[in-house]
Symmetry: D2
Subunit: 345 residues, 4 copies
Amino acid sequence: MANKKLSFTSDYMEGAHPLILKRLAEMNMVKSSGYGTDDFSESARSKVREACNAPDADVFFLVGGTQANATMIDSILRPYQGVIAAESGHVSVHEAGAIEYGGHKVLTLPHKDGKISAESVKNCIKGYLSDENHDHMVMPGMVYISQPTEYGTIYSLDELKQLSHICHEYKIPLYLDGARLAYALACPENDVTLPDIAALCNAFYIGGTKCGALFGEAVVIPKHDFVPHLFTMIKQHGALIAKGFINGIQFETLFTDDLYLNIGKNAIETADRIKKALVDKGYTLTLHSPTNQIFITLDKEQAEKLSKDVELGFIENLDENHVVMRIATSWATKNEDVDDLIAAL
Amino acid sequence: MANKKLSFTSDYMEGAHPLILKRLAEMNMVKSSGYGTDDFSESARSKVREACNAPDADVFFLVGGTQANATMIDSILRPYQGVIAAESGHVSVHEAGAIEYGGHKVLTLPHKDGKISAESVKNCIKGYLSDENHDHMVMPGMVYISQPTEYGTIYSLDELKQLSHICHEYKIPLYLDGARLAYALACPENDVTLPDIAALCNAFYIGGTKCGALFGEAVVIPKHDFVPHLFTMIKQHGALIAKGFINGIQFETLFTDDLYLNIGKNAIETADRIKKALVDKGYTLTLHSPTNQIFITLDKEQAEKLSKDVELGFIENLDENHVVMRIATSWATKNEDVDDLIAAL
Amino acid sequence: MANKKLSFTSDYMEGAHPLILKRLAEMNMVKSSGYGTDDFSESARSKVREACNAPDADVFFLVGGTQANATMIDSILRPYQGVIAAESGHVSVHEAGAIEYGGHKVLTLPHKDGKISAESVKNCIKGYLSDENHDHMVMPGMVYISQPTEYGTIYSLDELKQLSHICHEYKIPLYLDGARLAYALACPENDVTLPDIAALCNAFYIGGTKCGALFGEAVVIPKHDFVPHLFTMIKQHGALIAKGFINGIQFETLFTDDLYLNIGKNAIETADRIKKALVDKGYTLTLHSPTNQIFITLDKEQAEKLSKDVELGFIENLDENHVVMRIATSWATKNEDVDDLIAAL
Amino acid sequence: MANKKLSFTSDYMEGAHPLILKRLAEMNMVKSSGYGTDDFSESARSKVREACNAPDADVFFLVGGTQANATMIDSILRPYQGVIAAESGHVSVHEAGAIEYGGHKVLTLPHKDGKISAESVKNCIKGYLSDENHDHMVMPGMVYISQPTEYGTIYSLDELKQLSHICHEYKIPLYLDGARLAYALACPENDVTLPDIAALCNAFYIGGTKCGALFGEAVVIPKHDFVPHLFTMIKQHGALIAKGFINGIQFETLFTDDLYLNIGKNAIETADRIKKALVDKGYTLTLHSPTNQIFITLDKEQAEKLSKDVELGFIENLDENHVVMRIATSWATKNEDVDDLIAAL
């Protein structure tokens, strides 16, 4: 019925965490009002606010990451503004031009392992401001980062504070894409909490799709009404689901008994086992990635051999003989699959 | 936890049909590939093609109705074109400008109980063509209808053939919004089948959200590659979900053992009971609506009285003293709730 | 070389007023800086501010009317908003969907001879606000009117005050399209001055193209920085010309010695002569139009006969046997052509 | 009245070539039909077709360069496509996001002195095609180049043929921005003729604004109806002027007696004199630029000293101590101003 080979392609290959499925089944015939006006959603919003220590936050539940990014970027920017992002950022590369479809340029910065520095952001803004022709150019109007990044790396609290400081200095909103946020929160190297993010960012989303939900992302705007009429803009983007309570039930469950804070642990532990085995067997890790994504640089021969037994994620062709592939673990990764993978290396 | 009063507000107040929930639970830990490339989705596509007697159809699973409409209209139209729709059409009124957000004008026609006639479409196109300034005007590039309509009415096979004929004559695609299609298919007055729709329309969607799924709409394009690169445009619209297999599992279930063809029966039967009671008790039906939506014209006093016991859907203020309200039934409506409603009338 | 028949098709058939051509020739080799930063433009802006009694106004010179409308509407509205306009408004019908291209719905109101009333605007806004589903709908975010209207009629000062009052009450900007403003200002029936417009509207444009310039429209925003970063948005719309000084020279001339206030007189006088002759000869004036556009309802026979000698502007097919045609005069209309036209009636 | 200092800021500081002004004055009171349907425009189109040896070409007259680029790119691309351009390209940097406003990403390539190579274009397209995730990415749908480039350099016929060959191989249109085309055509190093461009590009524009006209760019599409309904899309972009005959008269004049082919000669000759003087006086030319734009790298001290006597164009801050400035000549540059400039160096 589904793929048979051992697969570590991505972290969105299974359905939902059992507690979510259970709750969906239990509440299945409860009647709820539409579009997120229901009690489950209200409860979920309260729990998210509490987890973020952001009592006045506006919280909206959207369906997917590209949708959340495009909706928020379009809704926050004015037409003459663009969004600063890493060259490797999801909005720059893998959203099929969704940001441009909404009318905005992505102003790309070089990245280091998926991260951009406060200094490069500052230089970008200062370069814009000191260019005598800047009225003919797209104004930097927002900074987009992801935590963890596309390469599984994480911003430290200090780095996040520096970015936030620059954004504040130039009155430019800071937006954080948390598609895989649970895997950062569960990572021992991480020192950035949800309240930190809420305190330092103007808007962010807490990823559900890749972190235990069937689908869904919780957009959080710490300062109430920072984006007026966002509900209508979400609808306009086709991002408002009729049965908003499905999202409500999922996030209520994720934010009960710290499930979201713990759901990533299995992914980190299994990823650590795999990384150790890779190093032991002489594979080349492309970079140091402390969360649930592992990047390995393979030559053609290795890649072909490995692909007989395991499905991995394609990242990029480095050159004619080398390719970067990704191994992703998740809340659902089974230790016996990890054993099989290690045996296949 | 949720709303306590008797509620007939809409047809999207409960979760999913039990068979869907069951299947989601059974398949929860099966690993699938992303973005609709999985086996469940492939199977669902086959079953949809078969049900539509459209073996070459392209089938895509999207999340919601506004999203499906905006994505398809934007993807089919060229920039200089607009979409013809009833003044009461969902795309005209209740999508927060999603079509215009995509750059296209909605060219509205007067409607009769939510329906537009082939003749009015023809006159619109001919009026455009015979206007000496038409190169300065938006060209009609598509016709949008819904089955059932916003008012629960249905196009007869003859009416649909006439619309299709006009569209064909002027080489303009015909698009059908089937958000509530199950309720048309289950309606005894209806003589339009899925194969009819596939034969007469260039694109349409089979509604899941309001017809038994947690969410999801199956876009069907009977002629393969009628919309090249639609996958990328779906992604660009934020309408591509990572866990496409959730959609796959849902539509596979809906199209197994004719579930979709039968799922609307309960809604029709309960709506018929309610309509009979309304007429018996002297209420004014706003129009003849043979599917799962009932529209009643109430004076202020009636509306206030009724609202104490029952939640209904608001449609419009007719004048200072009258309001049109909607009673919606669904696959999930319970006979005991219908009893209570009738008692409260 | 050009059309030989007697032509009253439009008011943009000749080049520029002789004083403008003369000034362009005299200043042809003066070096100026680009994009409207030159001294001619600065002087023109001062003169426009003075004529409008709006000392703090932002003034920008654009090229054409559709461009000015689209740029201003896009720049003022937020994505969730649309613009209220008459069904007959230029933005509704004859701009090829330019407003929708920018992402905004045109919310049309019925018109009376091209005009909309304060009451209908109020009802539209109140209808929106009182609709329980208005968060799913496009919010009225601006009111668009033209002076004179598409049908050559004019708003009285009292009517304009009422519109402005409603807009102010609901905090919605009022925008006035003055493509043919000179013909309103020169019309004896008119009681609305440039300072009135500046006092009552949030933005408007003073038409050059149809009022004596080679091209060009002066956008006036009475309150400084009401639209921040408009320069960049003008550029983004492709509406910023490199040789802005050409616009500057033209508008400086139009606003020297009251040329703009007087340039329409010839059009009004010749139009009055023609209207009198039409009535005398039994033609049907479609409506009372006091400015430079005359609308006549012709049956097919009349239309064919007249078209042998004179070119008129096509407006619309009323029915199979009747057509509405337009006779337009301008600053450039010659009395001998009027004599010939009257003879041909 | 205008700037008094010696100015070499740009090539659009004066009005129009005297022959154009003369013709505009002579034809000023001839009545013409609107929107480019007039006889002058028809004649100009014929002459442009002849000069390009492209008898079936569609020719449209637009107002400015950003407008022409945005209109053509939007009109040719499908929503899922982007345009390949040099990082330094006008569409990438100095059009205030006009391309993104139309919904399209600019896919930038590194440049060499403003030029991109056929090989880098090929690698970009091949990289896209060989990326397993390319359905989630913006598809290269067009190649944008300018002749001369932003840095005054020119593509050789051989280079243009190679680019055209790659585009043809991958069925991607090649578009050429000829804002300053007259200065390439008049350049002794140039071996690319108008017929070459028409033979090798799918669309291009012949610049008027910077090459002797008051304003205006002639868009040429060698293959008739390559872009269906372009007229309406031009209108939709606000790029259609009512008095199209002003454009017609200007381009008719430019394409009579080879004026366009010769109008750039003065610019080349004066630029050559200046370049020689710069080298003689020890200035650093930033790059070899054979047309009418000269780029010099100045340290702060030089820049300040020079700016006392001469206005130059700002290009970019190289580092804290160095700036790149531009000297531009044109058809209107006077030898006495060149003498003064050389004296001031």
